[in-house]
Amino acid sequence: MSGVFYFISAVTVAGALAAVLLRNTIHCALALAVAFAGLALLFLSLDAQFVGFVQILVYIGAVVILVVFAILLTRDSEAPNQGVYSRTWLAGLVITAAVFAFLAWAVLASLPGLPRRAVAPAASVQDIGNALMTRYVLPLEIIAVLLTAATIGAVIVAMHEKARSK
């Protein structure tokens, strides 16, 4: 594995760690952005250029902004009075460790069975577009409906409260 990979992985992991460990929620959101960027780079290193750019556009460009808006709207950036971790954080940590242990074991135990390919596949945007329109046209349409519903839903959820709190 190349050093680039290790560097990008380190950045990503650091960003993720920061995202869950920092006290200030805004800092967490920003660390999250860093993690997303690292992931985008990882995608790029996996020859999935389209997905990498979509990652940047959607996640960093929309989701993080959304999170920041939410933080600001809920005044979560102010200092909390009871601490940022739950009282039973150890139980959660233990469970997490168990999950990670299991996943790692699964990966490492199936080492011989995993496929290896050295040649990078070619995936042009045109191919992706073709696939979307032919093979994956049904999921596409459904995703369209889903996004519409989500948008409308989010608006209604937020708006209803606005109307009532008047």
């Binding site: 990979f5 992985s9 990503t12 993720a16 995202a19 869950v20 929620t25 959101a29 999250l32 993690a35 992931l39 990882l42 996996l46 020859d47 999935a48 997905v51 990652q55 996640y59 989701v63 959304l66 999170v67 808006f69 939410a70 005044r75 979560d76 909390p80 009871q82 601490g83 940022v84 971790y85 739950s86 009282r87 959660g92 940590l93 469970i95 999950v99 990670f100 996943l103 790692a104 990966v107 490492l108 995993l114 496929p115 290896r116 990078a120 596949p121 995936a123 992706i128 696939a131 979307l132 093979r135 999921p139 995703i143 989500a150 948008t151 989010a154 959820v157 937020a158 409260e161 709190s165």
Partner: protein, 103 residues
Amino acid sequence: MTPLTAYLLVAALLFAIGLAGALTRRSAILVLIGIELMLNAANLNLIAFWRYGPHPEFLTGMMFAIFSIAVAAAEAAVGLGLVISIYRHTQTTDVDQITRMKG
């Protein structure tokens, strides 16, 4: 250690971190952040398998990842809208204090 294994381990680590955040932080928004991290780790898994698995010409992994991103975005929107709505009711985002569904 094959490259695939490395990517998978990174994905597992990211997943665990995201899970830790979702399970241990008080703020609801941070729970959602943790969930986003978990989703991203899954996406990484998918792309890694697309890159190193059989039949990459079918673009299955990539498609899956794209749709996953779309869904995650929609879910983040709705989730955050809900958090805002809850904040309006209870004036707090502390998940420990939101126990209306207790019992």
